[in-house]
Amino acid sequence: MQNTTTKKSKNIMNMFSGKQILIPIAALLLLAVFNLIADPSFYKISMDVNSAGNHVLSGYLITILDYGSELAILAIGMTLVTAASGGQDISVGAGIAIAGSVILRVLCGTNSRPDKLQAPIIVAFLVACVVSMLFGAFNGILVAGFKIQPMVATLILYTAGRSIAAWINNNELPVVSDPTFAYFGGFIPGIPIPTPFFIAVACMIVIALAMKFTNLRLYTQAVGINEHSSRLNGLNPAFIKFLSFVILGLCVAVAGLIKVSRISSINYSVIAKDIEMDAILAVALGGNSLSGGKFNMTASILGAYVIQFLTTTLYKFNVKSDAISAYKAVVVIILVVISAPVVREKFASFTKKMQAKKEVA
């Protein structure tokens, strides 16, 4: 009898220590419970009518889903880059500035405040995708071809990106007045859920399909774990790394579209500021190793929402926005300490001892 119960508890323990996805889930639960205790109205969701006369949902939870989208999308690409190259891309913020700038350039032409769009939005977006993928390819070539370490290779674009973005639009600040452009960062008429969340979900579905119907996961992991061995098994490690940067480029373009759509304009020096750090943090909060190899995509995406959950919570409590980072740091440290294998092992052996004592007594 007793044996079975201890076995069961051991199984649960094992499950807990084995599955890395439980790390971000536990983090979300922690934040959720905290908010529930502090102020249950946090969970209020209401259905309102928006300026276009459509029903939309609103509330803190919706805000989290809405504003966490860009980060979730970036987390997808960042996870792949991390897994394949064992390093991180710090140029995604600058990349978003470029993508946004390209979109506006195509939409507005040379006139920074056009009365009507110069090109369909889809064309602008596709052009941005191509440009972003080219910049991703540039990073990829430096990392895979020239074997420059990712963080430094991408430092180049990090330094130049916002300047390039300004250059693309000749330092004008275009404003799009067409209301359809605002759909991507707001609501599509008739749908009460924010569009960015839909876009994020679409990205997740695409990546999930890619992982199911291709060998993206196996190849990326193999290359990230052991490059030599992967080569001898017929893989081309350089190409896989390159590919991961190109995919991240695509993610950057999508995030860029959402960002510029949110305010129908751009500010080159502050758009998506410091988002690279949050994207990396999302990967890490998902329990993935930042030195490459195995990864769990779902966990990374959840990690992104953990960060947004935290940010929204802090805004709710009216923490000064330039001090938010200090609180964020404390929560992040608590989370990683709890999920650290060493700590969990210690904890497990401690509970074991306690149990043993109880049994003796």
Binding site: T214, S229, R231, L232, N233, G234, L235, K294
Partner: protein
């Protein structure tokens, strides 16, 4: 050591193991792959924390606590681990002296001079100031041994130190061990070479499946019995294999499967010719560093080819990278398992299907069921000891890792299989099985190139041997010419002329 317990998730690596080492003896620790030998050593030297049991040392009252390799070193236990554990980015001398001695300063002149002296006395062809990563595995292994031997120790532990050494070096090592024994040092020696055990050891302890089988005086335990103890069953004699190998008749009329002319790679081998016929088993032999591996790496496209042609079934094919070779039905099991073979964090299953998967293509992943089927099939076929197919390969014992890599290549159903030291670090039972497997595959029509540092093994399996010296092909032996002495003659040929 008394009553040692150690388990990993899913594996009970050691259960109630006792081990006693006396002063001035060489004590062999034997067992199959995955029996727990390395684990026992790692527990003894503080790399792993033990789950239960005690360690006693002479001169110390009661059990001693060894929590880190540093503690072990301080207690006079010096160790050469199975996987070479040196820092590739440091110089040879630094690798020999780091982590030893007190104080904060380091006298570099003296250290380099001392190191050079030791290297010289052991005939190791390396310089003290050379960066370790520029040395071959064998030399790295020797450096590790030199480091351990140089320490003023009471206990010396050698975990498969001979796996990448050739005979002369092994002899040198034995000389050293005997010398230390006469000075009262106790030595634990792990190896899969039975000859070596009988050559130097005084006592044998046998482990099986993490449990102690027993401790024996060397004279009480003849070879056959030892093998039986290790495997838990009688082993067919090795001699059997030889008969099977004779099945293959060198038939000149069969056209070669793979034919190589004047092949040359950037790794520095001289142009060489080579061919292999369907169903043939041949091999490369030569001294350490004579360029055996480099030849086959060139055929597989693992090194950059700089000249020569490769013909597959009579047609010239271009092999620039491993994938080209794989597409031609060539498979290569590399010699450096840790660096070139395993993908450490991936599961056994993924490691098995990797090459076949790559051949199949990016857009056609195996289904889960298929992958599981393949994994289970080969785990059974090769008797791979693993908790499950989901276990990361890095937590398997060395020998079982090797089997997984072998399984990986068998799954691609190659026409031509290159095995570079496939039996390195593999226990006697498995070794025999692998040799049998090779011959069986050959009889089914696969061509196999087999490279091994053990001439016996080569003689048993191969019908033709290519002899290498100084990265040059110096001869080819087949049929009647195949014997220990003729090989030696050809290898030494240059000196005699």
């Amino acid at each position: 050591m008394k009553n040692i317990y150690k388990s990993f998730p899913g594996v009970k690596a050691l259960q109630a193991v006792d081990f006693t080492l006396c002063e001035g003896e060489i004590h062999a620790l034997m067992g199959e792959n995955g029996a727990g030998k390395s684990t026992l050593i790692k527990v003894l030297t503080g790399v792993y924390e033990k789950d239960g049991g005690d360690i006693f040392l002479k001169e110390h009252e009661g059990a001693v606590a060894i929590r880190s390799p540093q503690d072990a070193q301080n207690l006079g236990i010096s160790t050469v681990y199975q996987e070479i554990t040196l820092c590739p980015n440091l110089s040879v001398a630094e690798n020999m002296y780091i982590g030893r001695g007190k104080g904060i300063g380091q006298n570099w002149k003296k250290m380099n001079a001392d190191a050079d002296k030791i290297l010289k006395s052991l005939d190791i062809p390396a310089k003290a100031t050379q960066q370790l990563s520029s040395c071959s595995i064998a030399i790295q292994q020797m450096v590790a041994i030199a480091r351990a031997v140089d320490m003023d120790c009471k206990v010396l532990i050698l975990d498969e130190p001979t796996s990448s050494l050739d005979e002369q070096e092994v002899e040198k090592l034995f000389g050293l061990m005997r010398d230390l024994r006469s000075r009262g040092v106790g030595i634990i020696f792990v190896t899969h070479f039975l000859d070596q055990v009988y050559e130097v050891c005084d006592k044998i302890t046998v482990l099986r499946d993490g449990k102690l089988v027993g401790e024996y005086e060397i004279k009480d335990l003849p070879r056959v019995k030892l093998v039986a103890k290790m495997l838990g069953k009688e082993l067919d004699d090795e001699a059997d294999i030889k008969d099977e190998s004779l099945v293959y008749e060198a038939d000149e009329s069969i056209p070669p499967v793979v034919e190589v002319e004047g092949l040359q790679s950037n790794a520095g081998i001289k142009p060489f010719d080579f061919n292999i016929r369907k169903g043939e088993v041949n091999g490369f032999t030569g001294l350490l560093g004579s360029g055996r591996s480099e030849c086959v790496r060139a055929i597989f496209g693992a090194d950059r080819v700089t000249g020569g042609t490769v013909k597959k079934s009579g047609k010239v094919v271009k092999i620039n990278k491993p994938l080209d070779a794989m597409k031609q039905g060539i498979a290569y099991l590399p010699e450096d398992r840790k660096r070139d073979g395993i993908v450490g964090d991936l599961s056994v299953r993924d490691n098995i299907i990797l090459a076949a998967q790559v051949l199949r293509g990016f857009f056609k992943p195996f289904s889960k069921a298929q992958a599981n089927k393949f994994a289970d099939e080969y785990i059974k076929l090769l008797e791979i000891k693993t908790a499950s197919a989901d276990t990361p390969i890095k937590s398997l014992s060395g020998g079982n890792q090797q089997k997984v890599i072998l399984a990986r290549w068998l799954l691609t159903h190659p026409e031509y299989l290159i095995l570079d030291e496939p039996t390195r670090g593999i226990d006697i039972g498995t070794k025999v099985e692998i040799q049998k497997l090779v011959l069986k595959l050959a009889s089914e029509g696969m061509s196999v190139t087999f490279i091994s540092s053990e001439t016996d093994e080569m003689l048993r399996t191969c019908s033709r041997l290519i002899v290498m010296r100084d990265r040059k092909k110096v001869g080819e032996l087949s049929g009647e010419e195949l014997s220990q002495s003729s090989i030696m003659d050809t290898i030494a040929g240059g000196d005699k002329e």
